[in-house]
Symmetry: C2
Subunit: 457 residues, 2 copies
C-alpha cells in the first residue's frame, strides 16, 4: 500500500486539520460532548442562477458510515502532534451517533435552504465539516449544470463524456451527479460499475488514425461491435466518411458521431445525406464543448443525442456550490439548547436549527419557508401550517447513527432523477431561463426562536 | 467492499468505455500491436494566460504502474459486453511496457508544448487516455492558479484551504498541485499524509460558538495547542477579540486569523492594535475567497500569510487545462512509422512525434521549439542545435515499462516547486502579468518529417 492508499483507506483524513485540533481542545474542556446542530446552506446561488440541485447525499452516507481513522491514520495524527493519546482513544471508539436530516437528492434549493442538518455532539459534528462540504459542493455543482443542460436538450438524451477534464475521482462523482440532473448515461466505466449506470462510447479519432485508412477502421469497428455501433465521421472528410460508413455497415448503422466544426449545419447535412442513402434510422450524436447555451443553438438541428464533457464536470462555469457548514445551535453550560451565529459585520448567519417547507399556489411553487427556532418551536410551526399547500423538505437520512441505506442505492439514484424533474416542473417557469437573475422563488426566513432571531454573543 | 470501492480498487476503470471497445476491435484486427506515439498537449492556454504549469506526473506514475483491471473489474467488463474472452486474457497479462517522456513537474508550458508522450503499442496507449488527461488536466489547472497566486503574494506564504470546495479526492490532488505552484502547506490531512506535506489549521467559528463565550474558546485553544496557536478573531467583534486574545495567550500569541470583511483595512487595524498591545511578533493570517487579483490588492496590508480556498482548487476561473491526448504517429502495414493527424476543418493537429526545446537569449526564454518528425529526424534536429542556448524539455519518466519512481517522491515534489520558480523567473517578465494576452514566449513548430508536415489521410 502506498502512502496515498494509506491516506485514503478510510475517509477520516478527508478533512481539514482544524477539525481534529478543535476536537482535541473540545475533548479537553468538555465542550466536545455538547449537543449541537450544524447546517449546510449556501448564501447565494452561483452565477445568479434561478435554482440549485442537491446531489451527493447517496454518496455521502457510506463515507460517514466509514468515517473512522484506522491504525495507520491514527499514527499519522499522533506523529504530527495533531491529537493526544486521549483523543486517539476517543477516535478508536468513534462512530457517528447523530441524526442527519437533508434535502433529498434531486431536490431544488435556494439561498439559505438548510440543505443538510447534523444533530449530534460538537465533537462528532465538527469532524464531518470538510467531507460533507466536499461531496455536496461538487456533486451539486455538477447536478445543477446537468439539470440546465438537460432542459436545453429538450428531450434529447445527454451523455456524460467529461471524465478526462476532471480529476479521476471527480469524474466518477460527476457521472453520478449528472444522472441526478437528468443525464441518461456516462462514458466513465468506474462510475458505471460503482453506481450501475448505463455506459456509452465506441471510438476516438485515434482508432481511425491507427488504421491504414478510414474504411478499414470502420470495418474493424463494425466487425467487433456490430452494425448498431456509432462511427466517428469527422477524422478526415465528413461527407465521404458518411458514405463510407453506410457502405461498410449498411443502412442499419446505429449512429454517427460528429465532434468538431459547426455542429448544427453538419448535423443537418449528415441527416440529409443519411436519409438519401437510406439510413433513415441512423442516429446522429454530436459532441464538442457543449453546454446549455450551445444546446439552445442546436435546438433546430436534427441531432438525436448529446455527449457533454468539460462544461458538465466543471459545473458549466461554476465548479463549486459555495455551500458552508455552520454551527447554529448548541447546548449551553446549563444544559439548555441555544441558537448561535457569527456576528461580525460580514457573512452573518441565522442562529437556531431550521425547518424547511415549500409552499405552492395552484401547484406552482411560490416560496421556500425557512423557519429558525428551537426544535419544539419549529415543529409547532409545521403543525400550525398543516393542511396548507406546503411540503416539508427535510428527510431523515441518519437517525441516531442508523443510516437509511435505501438512499444510497442505484434505484435511489434513478428515483432522484425523476424526483428532480418533478420538482423542477413545479417551479415558476422562469426557473428554465438561463439568464442570470433572482432565484425562481423567494426564501422567507421566519424566526420562531425564543429570542426572536437574536442569538447570544 | 462496496461497489465504489470495487470500481476504484485499481485505476483501470478510470477510463472512458471507448478505450476498451477500441482495444477490443484493435485486438481483433491486429492494429492493437502497432507501435504508436500518443501526445498530450493543449491548443491554447485557458483564459489567455501567459503560461501554464505542468503538474500531476508524480501522481500519475503509480496509477499507470497499477493500471490493470482486477478480477471483479474484468467480470464487470465481460458482463457489460465491453470486452470478449480474448481481450480479457490480454488484460489479465497487461502491464504497461512502453516509454513515457514528459515535461517535468513544475515546468511551464505553452500552446502545443508536447507535455507528455506515450510510445508503445496502440492497445496499451489507447487504454491510458482518460486517466492521463484526468490527472494532468486537473493538477495542472490548480498548479497554474497556485503559481499566479504565489506570484501575487510577493513572498508571503500561501496555504491551501480549499478542500471543502472540491470533490474529496480532488482536494488531495489540489493540495499536492498547489505545492508545485509554490504553496507552503495545506489544511488537508489526507494530502499531508499521502505526500508528506506541512499541514496547518487551528479553529473555525464553530469552536468559538460552541463555548459560552469567546474568552473560554480562546483559553481552551491555548490550553490545548499552546500560545503559538492562531486564534480566529472575527466571530463577534474583531477589536475586542484581539484584546481578549492577547489577554489569554500573552504577547507570545502565535497568530490571529481574519476571515471576513475588508481584509486590508482589518489587517492594518489588527497590526496596529497588536503592536500597541506588545504582541509585535504575532502573525496575521487572512482568508476568504482569495485569488491572485485580491492578493494584489492586499500587497500593502500588514499580512503575514494567506489561506487560499475556492479559487485555488477551481483553478482560479479555469478548473481544467483543456489538454488533449492524440495519436500522432504509428506503424503502418509495411512496418514503417508514419505521422498521422485528424484532418477535418477544425481542431487539426500536427502529425509525428514532437521534440521540445526552450531557447534563451541572455538567460531569458525567447521561444518554445516544438519539432515534429520521425524519431531520427527529431534527434538530428537536437544534435544540430547542440551548443546553442537551448534546453531540451522532455525527460523519460517510464523507460520500456521501467518507472522512474524518483519522480514520485515527496522530495521530487519539493524539487518541482523550486524548479518551477526557476523556470518562471527565466521567462519574460510579461509572464507575471495577470492581464489576458499572448503566451509569454511563442511556440515555433518546425516540421522535420519526411513529408514536410503533411500526414497521410
Amino acid at each position: 500500500m502506498n502512502t496515498f492508499e494509506a491516506a485514503t483507506a478510510t475517509p477520516a483524513l478527508m478533512t481539514d486539520m482544524y477539525e481534529y485540533t478543535m476536537l482535541e481542545a473540545a475533548l479537553k474542556d468538555g465542550t466536545a460532548q455538547r449537543q449541537s446542530v450544524f447546517e449546510v446552506y449556501s448564501r447565494h446561488l452561483p452565477g445568479d442562477r434561478r435554482y440549485g440541485v442537491v446531489a451527493g447525499l447517496g454518496r455521502l452516507l457510506p463515507l460517514i458510515e466509514n468515517f473512522r481513522p484506522n491504525e495507520a491514520q491514527l499514527k499519522f495524527l499522533r506523529d504530527r502532534h495533531v491529537i493526544s493519546a486521549d483523543t486517539q482513544k476517543w477516535l478508536e471508539n468513534y462512530t457517528f451517533h447523530g441524526t442527519i436530516r437533508a434535502y433529498r437528492e434531486g431536490e431544488v434549493y435556494f439561498p439559505n435552504s438548510p440543505i443538510l442538518q447534523v444533530e449530534t455532539t460538537f465533537g462528532e459534528g465538527t469532524l464531518l465539516e470538510t467531507l460533507i462540504l466536499s461531496v455536496l459542493n461538487y456533486d451539486s455543482a455538477v447536478a445543477t449544470a446537468a439539470s440546465r443542460i438537460v432542459t436545453a436538450a429538450q428531450g434529447r438524451p445527454c451523455m456524460d463524456m467529461g471524465g478526462r477534464r476532471a480529476n479521476e475521482y471527480s469524474a466518477i462523482a460527476a457521472a453520478r451527479a449528472s444522472i441526478v440532473g437528468g443525464f441518461a448515461g456516462t462514458a466513465n466505466l468506474a462510475a458505471a460499475m460503482a453506481y450501475d449506470l448505463p455506459a456509452i462510447g465506441t471510438a476516438a479519432h485515434s482508432f481511425t488514425l491507427v488504421h491504414d485508412n478510414e474504411e478499414q477502421a470502420f470495418r474493424s469497428q463494425v466487425d467487433a461491435l456490430g452494425t448498431s455501433t456509432t462511427l466517428l465521421t469527422d477524422t478526415y472528410n465528413v461527407e465521404e466518411a458518411i458514405t463510407r460508413a453506410v457502405e461498410v455497415a449498411g443502412t442499419d448503422l446505429g449512429g454517427i458521431r460528429i465532434d468538431s466544426g459547426d455542429l448544427a449545419s453538419m448535423a443537418q447535412q449528415a441527416r440529409s445525406q443519411l436519409d438519401a442513402l437510406g439510413a433513415t434510422h441512423t442516429k446522429i450524436t454530436v459532441t464538442n464543448d457543449l453546454d446549455e447555451y450551445s444546446l439552445l443553438n442546436l435546438r433546430d438541428a436534427p441531432v438525436d443525442s448529446y455527449g457533454v464533457g468539460t462544461r458538465l464536470v466543471t459545473g458549466s462555469g461554476h465548479p463549486t456550490s459555495e455551500m458552508v457548514y455552520k454551527l447554529v445551535e448548541r447546548e449551553s453550560a446549563d444544559g439548555r439548547m441555544q441558537g448561535v451565529a457569527k456576528h461580525a459585520a460580514h457573512k452573518a448567519s441565522d442562529a437556531w436549527r431550521k425547518g424547511a417547507w415549500r409552499s405552492y399556489r395552484y401547484n406552482v411553487a411560490d416560496a421556500e419557508y425557512v423557519v429558525a427556532g428551537s426544535q419544539r418551536d419549529v415543529e409547532a410551526w409545521g403543525k400550525q401550517h398543516e393542511g396548507e399547500d406546503m411540503r416539508p423538505l427535510l428527510i431523515t437520512a441518519i437517525d441516531h447513527g442508523d443510516v437509511d441505506s435505501s438512499l444510497a442505492t442505484p434505484q435511489a439514484l434513478l428515483a432522484a432523477r425523476d424526483y428532480h424533474r418533478q420538482q423542477l416542473e413545479a417551479l415558476p417557469i422562469v426557473s428554465r431561463s438561463f439568464k442570470a437573475g433572482d432565484p425562481a422563488i423567494p426564501t422567507l426566513v421566519e424566526h420562531v426562536d425564543p429570542e426572536g432571531g437574536q442569538a447570544e454573543s
